[in-house]
């Protein structure tokens, strides 16, 4: 799905009010895999929440295939994965995933529960309750819950933050492997620059709060990507500098 963000502002109420996003402008063609990077507290989660219709922007607009987030949400075409796993404590691992399945209307594209749990490596503890799972396991469970939802737009908030490099890479491949055929648009918040470059078609860099767009770089590299490739290394160092600047502004 096409995502158009124009003059997007969000300021949280309160005294003092907290500006989280200040004038974002970008548009994402349908099916693009976009990584979102930025310093802590710069508004990444806020942006995803706006797209998922959990917040109304205080200024500007988001359009998804020309419709408002509310309309898209009503049509259940967006799958959102929060930064914290938010697992229901009274449901088993499987139960938590199964619950999500009640909320998908007919469209196909979502994984079967069994398959989703297998792919995130929780196939053998489906009966365990969330409070008996390790941090990383909880996050993987939340991921499985997203994977069963068929959607044209994936909003993922640091889905791998609590995972070790290896699991991380394996799941990244799994994910690409699911993404290729359906080709949903993906907004992927990550702090892992290599990961961003390994996965994304495009990387958006936000400044420190209130978030503004400080870099927008496209990667036309074939997947799987070869880190030794000079273009990869170039992109890498470019990103680092952007981020450093973004941070720098934060310090001022």
């Amino acid at each position: 799905m096409r995502v158009e963000v124009s003059a997007l502002n969000h300021t949280y109420p309160g005294k003092p009010p907290r500006p989280a996003l200040a004038g974002l402008d970008f548009s994402i063609p349908s099916g693009q895999f976009v990584a979102l990077i930025g310093p802590s507290g710069c508004g990444k989660s806020t942006l995803l929440r706006l797209a998922a219709n959990l917040l109304r922007p205080t200024g500007g607009s988001i359009r998804i295939d020309g419709r408002t987030p509310a309309e898209i949400n009503a049509a259940r075409q967006v799958a959102w994965m929060a930064q914290s796993p938010a697992l229901l404590p009274w449901l088993t691992a499987r139960g938590n995933v199964a619950l999500a399945q009640r909320f998908i209307n007919g469209q196909n594209g979502g994984l079967p529960i069994e398959d989703a749990l297998q792919r995130v490596g929780l196939g053998d503890i489906q009966a365990a309750y969330p409070f008996t799972l390790s941090g990383g396991m909880q996050q993987r469970l939340a991921l499985a819950r997203l994977l069963i939802q068929p959607a044209g737009l994936w909003l993922m908030d640091e889905p791998f933050a609590a995972l070790d490099e290896i699991t991380r890479e394996r799941l990244a491949l799994e994910l690409l492997d699911l993404w290729q055929p359906l080709h949903p648009t993906v907004l992927w918040v990550t702090h892992h620059i290599h990961e961003a470059l390994r996965l994304a078609d495009r990387v958006l860099v936000l400044s420190a709060a209130p978030g503004r767009l400080v870099a927008d770089l496209l990667l036309e590299l074939p997947r799987p990507r070869d880190e030794s490739d000079p273009r990869f290394q170039a992109a890498l160092s470019q990103l680092r500098t952007c981020l450093a600047q973004a941070q720098g502004e934060a310090q001022r």
Partner: protein
């Protein structure tokens, strides 16, 4: 958890024993006349002397109490659910509930007799009226107190109000529900007794009424002991059920 459980049971009996013994001692030493306050031994003797009478009366009263409690709980919970699904009417309905709650039962007892006759039905209704309010208030706040992250999740799923209720609020409100039950269970016993107090043809309430108006206190307190025992058993059962139902949130006592 077994050992500490047994220990605390011992402590429990110890405390009760101390209480009863000091009561007994107090009555004997200050030799308080029986028509003011009978001694526990006297009360228990009274119980022992009239087993069948108290058994029958208790059966009737406990029956009324339990059915009334059930009705009251269902009513209270149902209203709480309604108010969760239609939050607009909350203030209005709570106003009525409080109006109902503020009406002394004696004022409506005759009306109930008029409409429902002299049988157990009015007793049950009175009990229900007495028990529904705590359930309503507690369950309502239980249903309304939900963590934002979960609400966001359900919102992102475009869950209906009903689905949010069914899959999020309902399980989340269980701790409040059980607290309400623990409050209402003794209330139900009181309710049944008070209902019988006004001219019933049987039950502990009637026994107590007669005993009281004849200042026959041992019989009065014997009934009270039965009520207390019943209340205690109900409470324990509820606590046990609570542990089973709210397994994901351990009741922490060790720190």
């Amino acid at each position: 958890m077994k050992a500490p459980a047994r220990r605390s049971a011992l402590v429990a009996w110890g405390i009760v024993a101390v209480f009863l013994i000091s009561w007994e001692a107090g009555v004997r030493l200050m030799n308080i006349p029986v028509y003011l306050l009978p001694s526990p031994s006297h009360i228990l003797a009274t119980l022992a002397d009239n087993p069948s009478m108290y058994a029958q009366a208790s059966l009737l009263t406990l029956g009324e109490a339990l059915i009334g409690l059930l009705l009251g709980v269902l009513a209270g919970a149902a209203i709480a659910v309604l108010l969760t699904l239609l939050p607009g009417i909350e203030d209005g309905v709570m106003t009525l509930a409080i109006l109902m709650k503020s009406t002394p039962l004696v004022a409506i007892a005759p009306l109930l007799t008029l409409w429902l006759g002299f049988g157990v039905l009015p007793k049950i209704i009175i009990t229900a009226l007495l028990t529904f309010f705590p359930v309503l208030v507690n369950v309502l706040s239980g249903l309304q107190r939900v963590d934002q992250p979960f609400l966001d999740l359900f919102h992102s799923w475009r869950a209906s109000r009903w689905e949010v209720f069914r899959y999020l609020r309902l399980p989340g409100s269980l701790p409040y529900l059980f607290a309400a039950l623990k409050i209402s269970a003794p209330l139900a016993l009181i309710g049944a007794v008070v209902a019988e107090w006004t001219g019933a043809s049987g039950g502990l309430g009637r026994t107590m009424w007669l005993a009281y108006t004849n200042l026959n206190l041992p019989y009065l307190f014997a009934a009270i002991f039965i009520l207390a025992a019943a209340g205690m058993i109900l409470y324990r059962l509820l606590a046990w059920a609570e542990g089973r139902a709210v397994f994901w949130q351990s009741i922490s006592r060790e720190l």
